[in-house]
């Protein structure tokens, strides 16, 4: 009821407040955000909110045009000029912004648009990967699985494709093919990225999973973390992480990095919790998710993997 009242009030009040601020500051809302909010998640999320609430016809068209670009799979980095130049131009015209005076706004709004729609594109891409079931008849899937083994256990040859050895890296049985389940190829790609791009961190985490007292099943926990990363991406919580990464736009590799961050941090929390046995997994996993969600809720949070010296 209160929420309803608030949204009704907002619907009528927002234009009045905006008009008043526009007259007093001589800046439109998008400019106030781009000049006032820190670059990254605070700015980009506010720009996105402002755009989505906009009732200007041109702005609405920009949004649906960009959404269509994503839906029709024309959203590629080489295509960015064609995608964003017209969109930025339309926004500048609709908001009657003087480009000469507000050059930095143009740069900043463009960056925001790139981040917002790269994120939306990433959600689709991740969903597609998740939907591909691991198929042992597909040579490319098999190749990835075997590569994961050689990266994680470089000093030991896999005796056969179906082997008890898989349990050493935390699969459930002799054949990992049924372990990916609802996370499909996404689960395997995540693990593979962790092993190949963060060899030091992943072998550190893998060795923890072999701990005689606090050991756990590396790959299975990894697949559950894929699921966590997937839901955080889908419900928009991961925006804080993605938009605060200065060097990269949201793309599949950044999603993998996010996963690696989660894996590294989960391992840390698990070991620090000194669990009795693996049956405490669900409780600690939930606790971890809540901690991550709290951190992501603060748009100022910046995330990176800090490899620490082991003390256990």
């Amino acid at each position: 009821m209160i929420i309803n009242l608030w949204s009704v009030l907002q619907w009528y009040l927002r234009p009045i407040i905006k008009w008043f601020l526009r007259k007093t500051t001589r800046l439109c809302e998008l400019q106030r955000i781009c000049y006032g909010d820190k670059a990254g998640a605070p700015r980009t999320c506010n720009v996105e909110r402002s755009l989505m609430l906009s009732r200007t016809k041109d702005i609405k068209e920009v949004i649906s045009h960009l959404d269509a670009t994503v839906a029709e799979k024309r959203f590629t980095v080489d295509n960015f000029r064609n995608i964003f130049d017209p969109s930025v131009a339309i926004i500048i015209r609709a908001k009657q912004i003087n480009c000469k005076l507000h050059g930095s706004f143009v740069v900043s709004i463009r960056r925001c648009l790139e981040q917002i729609w790269s994120y939306r594109n990433l959600v689709n891409e991740v969903e597609e990967l998740r939907r591909i079931q691991f198929d042992s008849n597909d040579p490319s899937h098999e190749e990835k699985l075997l590569k994961l083994w050689s990266l994680l256990v470089p000093n030991e040859l896999l005796e056969s494709r179906v082997s008890k050895q898989w349990q050493a890296i935390g699969f459930q049985g002799d054949d990992p093919k049924t372990d990916f389940r609802g996370m499909g190829l996404l689960g395997l790609e995540n693990l593979l990225f962790f092993a190949s791009e963060y060899p030091q961190a992943s072998s550190h985490v893998l060795s923890h999973s072999h701990h005689p007292k606090y050991g756990y099943t590396f790959a299975i926990v990894g697949i559950n973390l894929t699921s966590m990363a997937y839901y955080l991406l889908k419900d928009g919580s991961a925006k804080t992480y993605m938009f605060n990464t200065k060097r990269y736009l949201p793309d599949i590799n950044l999603f993998h990095r996010f996963y690696c961050y989660l894996f590294y941090e989960f391992d840390k929390m698990w070991i620090e919790s000194k669990p009795q046995n693996i049956m405490e997994f669900s409780v600690i996993f939930k606790k971890f998710e809540n901690a991550v969600r709290t951190e992501l809720a603060d748009p100022a949070s910046v995330f990176r993997i800090n490899i620490e010296v082991d003390t256990i």
Binding site: R130, Q167, Q172, G173, T178, D179, R181, G182, M183, G187, Y216, T217, I220, V221, I223, N224, T226, S227, Y230, N277, I278, M279, E280, F281, S282, F285
Partner: protein, 139 residues
């Protein structure tokens, strides 16, 4: 005998609360069954490390459903969840021909446990819809 003992238990249980225990090998479909009971999405299931629990309201009963991971490493912990179980559901993957022996062995061991004595058992022949599923009864 099974039905009778359930009814007896129900009568002595005024809260109409039941504890269901889901066991079976890994990849049998225990978590999917749990989610199905709770009317949740079943397309995003992940392997269970540890256990899952959900409370489901069904025709006036509160069902506390415990779904325990089925991988070999976890099986020794199964017995920690036997206490006060009202119904045991043992899930079998009918398309997993190779591990039929293994699953029957695990079930036999379960049935010998004192804590599960008198607990009604449902063997749930899962994945009947797969073309590779064994026919029932086995020919």
């Amino acid at each position: 005998m099974g039905l009778l003992s359930i009814l007896k238990k129900l009568r002595s249980n005024p809260d109409k609360e039941l504890r269901l225990l889901l066991l079976g090998l890994d990849n049998a479909g225990k978590t999917t069954l749990l989610k199905q009971l709770a009317s949740e999405d079943v397309t995003h299931v992940t392997p269970t490390a540890g256990f899952n629990i959900k409370s489901v309201l069904s025709s006036g009963f509160k069902l506390n459903v415990w779904d325990i991971g089925g991988q070999r490493k976890i099986r020794p912990y199964w017995r920690n969840y036997f206490e006060n179980t009202d119904i045991l559901i043992y899930v079998v993957d009918c398309s997993d021909h190779q591990r039929l022996e293994e699953t029957s062995q695990e079930l036999t061991e379960l049935l010998q446990d004192d804590k599960l004595r008198g607990v009604p058992l449902l063997v749930y022949a899962n994945k009947q819809d797969l073309s590779t599923a064994l026919p029932s009864p086995r020919q």
